[in-house]
Symmetry: C2
Subunit: 215 residues, 2 copies
DNA sequence: ACGATTATCGAACGAGGTTCGATGATAGAA
DNA sequence: TTCTATCATCGAACCTCGTTCGATAATCGT
């Protein structure tokens, strides 16, 4: 079981979600497809289990963080840690987005984040909403940004600079009267950094939260 | 072409993302699979085109909204409109999350949202981040919440009440010392409303944005 | 020794994406 | 009118993937 999960995560890391097939997994483990089905009832469960396995790592990373006297600062650190983990393993997004099955390591992760909100002057409902909002920002942004890699990664000779620049050029060529915003934003987009963009989004919700907590 | 897209959207609406297959689409159109490949080079393009088609509808809905003297209020209305549209058509999330190809109707949608930020006292970069943050909240939350429907919809006899209650019960049964947050939140979760949860998350970012704009 | 449980295996089925060559329409050129 | 190049249509066939199933070994409690 442990070996199955480890191999599954390895496949996901090496070549993404589409690389995780029963046959590939069986080949890597040197067994048959049927064997995997003895441990796991279908692909969804395989994926969920593998993902939960990976989230265990994130959890220990989050738990290993020092922690300060400012709950919101701690929330920020946790959110960033989660973000980095998802960027590193884009296939995690699918889990966070599909999984209603809130238990296992992800439940512990929610708990860990939620504990920070206990230190804020909020109603239980506000705490519930705060955690959901923060996770939403992290997953939403990470997913959005993680998708921006078509040939760039495969070819390698088309670097990020040129890739973004091409879009910016297209946008600049649009009618300035009809597309004033896109026009103005083109330059920002050309030189934008995903992580900075995420941090900005996170900062907005955290600011709202701080306001709500009256601190 | 137009007929292909309309039929594709119909299939997606009727039975979700998995229902959109080349064979089903061909059958509905009374043609062969090969014909569809003449209009579209692969499934990704088919899906993107169909989704863009649907986003056209959202766009007109957003453009049809009156608009007030408060840019942030207008942003709220747009975000809610987008949210409702995605909840209504869960298969849209996949598009918003995978699609780097920012053009067509979704570009116009970004523009429309971005124009509100032009009325706020922000730097171009802040505007760029604001739009990205808002869309992130909408898509992230909508995706998160849209996934919570396993047997509930299919069986029909297990209603939402009981479904949520079961989770709440599990959470309450956890150790209160180890899971103080989840414990406290269980009741909120049992009676929670998806839309309210989204509005709370949106309100946090909008509050942060208002703060940033100094209005 | 022996049933029962635990594990293993891979051929085979069905569904879905994609390819490809054949074939018909349609229209401008000769 | 005839010819030919482009537009459009079609579905059989191929490949990959999830999943099933019956056969078979390995281990164990009695």
């Amino acid at each position: 079981m442990e070996a199955v999960l480890t191999a599954a995560v390895a496949l996901l890391d090496e070549a993404g979600e589409s690389a995780l097939t029963f046959r590939a997994l069986a080949a890597r483990l040197g067994t048959g497809v049927g064997t995997i089905y003895w441990y796991v009832s279908n692909k969804d469960e395989l994926f969920d289990r593998a993902t939960d396995h990976a989230i265990g790592g994130i959890l220990t990373a989050v738990e290993g963080q020092p922690g300060s006297d400012d709950p919101i600062a701690d929330l920020r650190v946790m959110a960033v840690t989660l973000f980095d983990a998802i960027v590193d393993r884009p296939w995690l997004t699918a889990y966070f987005m599909r999984n209603t099955d809130v238990q296992g390591h992800s439940l512990r992760l929610y708990e860990k984040i939620g504990q920070q909100t206990l230190r804020l002057d909020l109603t239980p409902r506000q705490r519930f909403h705060a955690v959901s909002a923060i996770v939403g920002v992290v997953v939403g942004t990470a997913a959005d940004l993680g998708a921006e890699i078509p040939q760039e990664l495969l070819d390698g000779h088309v670097d990020r600079e040129e890739f973004l620049g091409r879009y910016a050029a297209t946008w600049r060529s649009l009618d300035a009267a009809e597309f004033p915003f896109v026009h103005q934003i083109a330059d920002e987009f050309a030189g934008h950094d995903d992580r900075e963009q995420f941090l900005a989004a996170l900062e907005l919700t955290l600011a709202g939260l701080r306001l709500q907590a009256g601190t």
